[in-house]
Amino acid sequence: MNFDDYDPLQGKRLQVLDPEGCADPELLPDFDDDTLRLIFRWMLAARLLDGTCLTLQREGRMGTYPPVEGQEGCQVGSALALGTGDWVVPSFRELAVALVRGVQMEKTLLFWMGHEEGSRLPRELRYLPIAIPVGSHTLHAAGLAMGLRYRGEKGAVLCYFGDGATSEGDFHEALTFAGVYKAPAIFFCQNNAWAISVPRKIQCAASSLAAKGVGYGIPSIQIDGNDPFAAYVATTAALERARAGEGPSFIEAITYRLGPHTTSDDPGRYRSSDEVERMRPLEPLVRYRLFLKERNLWSETWEEQISSEIRDWIAEGVRKAESLPAPGPHDIFDHMYAELPPHLARQKADLLDGLKEE
């Protein structure tokens, strides 16, 4: 796959798997049956875990949570393209990416439950903690990638963000830096049509968000974001460019957020349920089921069986997350600096003394 064949300025868009489940044989990656099924399994795991999070939130066992439903395809496809030396710089809706990259499920749960341990991700994972300020982390990806290049390391950096982030200044500065220094970075925009209540057309007058990448001299492509193969193919091509020292790429994955921005918002105030119903048949699991079925790799029984395995796995993750005690009072001070400075030592002592008196 060549980025040049999909000029976003001409309205071209990469699609491997269409909504009817038909794959373009020219573009379909050479996956064995196990891998083809694994892709479904990851998407399903994210879908079911997402549902669990919504339940936990409703039950008061989790705080505000941003659902991923609808975006599993581009997340799983892109994440599967990564190698062990590659880094992920996520935003906050990358539940499926986290699962594929081996972030322990309870970490993600803990984060949304308001526990600091949710962001303690071992360095070997090469997966940065969730970054909430929209777009701000794109610069970290550029810097990390420049650092990998300086160190002569082979890895690349895959950075996820949404359509809203492309309006933030930091996004533009990140593309500027990455382009100028040929940083091995992949900027992966999940254009899910809505930034809370603001639709894509209010985000920018450009015909595509990928056009923004073009403006910074970065090979840029629009893909069908509900197609895990397109995400895999585009990310693989971008990784090859990065590893060959050819610099950054920009991928705009056109997907759709089926749920609310977070559990705190009511999409009924800004978009019609008709729109959501029109988008449902296009979501990634629907087409992927059809694709597997066509190849005799899917049956209801099989899906029920793996669903049941996944539910057990999720239950175990929830149990682990909920059994972790709340952090002690010392904890809010102990990670501020490598060495606790005197003023914080005094404040910590004050807090601890006060608690003793209570």
């Binding site: 600091e116 341990e117 962001s119 303690r120 991700l121 071992p122 360095r123 940065l128 903690p129 970054a131 300020p133 701000s136 982390h137 794109t138 610069l139 970290h140 990806a141 550029a142 810097g143 990390l144 990638a145 420049m146 650092g147 990998l148 300086y150 160190r151 200044g169 930091d170 500065e173 990140a174 500027t176 830096f177 100028v180 220094y181 990670h335 501020m336 600096y337 490598a338 400075p341 005197p342 003023h343 914080l344």
Partner: protein, 325 residues
């Protein structure tokens, strides 16, 4: 030993740290070919190459955000923001990420970067080129804020800042960039952060001043000495974390505390030091804590900046009032 001004001393620190550690990188606007608009980084790109001394696009948030990304790998980027007036776009990165990543990741990641920022007034510069907004930075958790007032301190403190495992904002008082020369040893030892320096000993009054205000305090102390008032001057050198013990020990001895800063008055560091003295040394006080500061106004343009800057005459007036109390 060479007699160096502040610019040369900072340049020496950068050069020696870059020689010592290949992970030290410089980045910023005009820091390479130009050697920095104040020539602080002069000659460094020639010595260490474009890979280690990067002329960046004109994007302040980008400079700090990218430096942060570099630092996550364990590199030690030293970013320059050309003037403190152009620091605001970087505050998002500093507040939201630079000062938080160690705590957020529970110590898995840290950001051992330095952001150098020429700051302060008195150089007859255009709008946005004379700000002194250190109090904003001191209010941010997870970072350190360092301000040298002499060439040797600048060299030694910058070395510590670069080697520090946590992010350091290194504020350079550009008014005295070339005003003071001092012997600075080659390969001098780093000066630990968080420790104040007693600039001048005196029994009657403690002046707390940093950056370019140390020199103004010294001028004021000379005038006061002729009147029989011995002023002690404490330069905290690190504003966060502040060497509170050094300040308190001096105030307990003199019974009077006068804070001098060119930053705006309200919620400035003078207010913090005043509260500290109230909390910890109230019964030693012979007069209320006093502040000589800039005003809660926009920094005036050059024709008016002398009205804004704490000058020796204002400091002397405040000191006399304290002595009469």
């Amino acid at each position: 030993m060479a007699s160096l001004n502040l610019v040369e001393a900072i340049n020496l620190a950068l050069r020696e740290e870059m020689e010592r550690d290949g992970d030290v990188l410089l980045l910023g606007e005009d820091v390479g070919r130009e050697g920095g608009v104040f020539r602080v980084t002069e000659g460094l790109q020639q010595t260490f190459g474009e890979e280690r001394v990067m002329d960046t696009p004109l994007a302040e948030s980008g400079i700090v955000g990218v430096a942060f990304g570099l630092s996550l790998l364990g590199l030690r980027p030293v970013a320059e923001i050309q003037f403190m007036g152009f620091l605001p776009p970087t505050l998002d990165q500093i507040i939201c990420h630079v000062g938080r990543i160690r705590n957020r990741s529970r110590g898995v990641y840290s950001a051992p970067l330095v952001i150098r920022v020429p700051y302060g007034g008195g150089i007859h510069a255009p709008e946005h080129h004379s700000e002194s907004t250190e109090a904003i930075l001191v209010h941010i958790p997870g970072i350190k804020v360092v301000v040298p007032s002499t060439p040797a301190d600048a060299c030694g403190l910058l070395k510590s800042a670069i080697r520090d495992p946590d992010p350091v904002l290194f504020l350079e008082p550009k008014r005295i960039y070339r005003a003071i020369k001092e012997e600075v040893a080659q390969a001098m030892e780093p000066i630990p952060l968080g420790r104040a320096r007693r600039v001048r000993a005196g029994a009657h009054l403690t002046m707390v001043a940093w950056g370019a205000m140390v020199r103004e305090a010294q001028k004021a102390a000379d005038i006061l000495a002729e009147e029989g008032v011995e002023a002690e001057i404490i330069d905290p050198r690190t504003l966060s974390p502040l060497d509170t013990e050094a300040i308190l020990a001096s105030v307990r001895r003199t019974g009077r505390c006068l804070v001098v800063h060119e930053a705006a008055r309200t919620a400035g560091l003078g207010a913090e030091i005043s509260a500290l003295v109230m909390e910890e040394a109230l019964l030693h006080l012979k007069a209320p804590v006093a502040r000589v500061t800039g005003f809660d106004t926009v920094m005036p343009l050059p024709k008016g900046e002398h009205l804004y800057m704490p000058e020796p005459s204002r400091i002397v007036r405040a000191a006399r009032k304290m002595m009469r109390f």
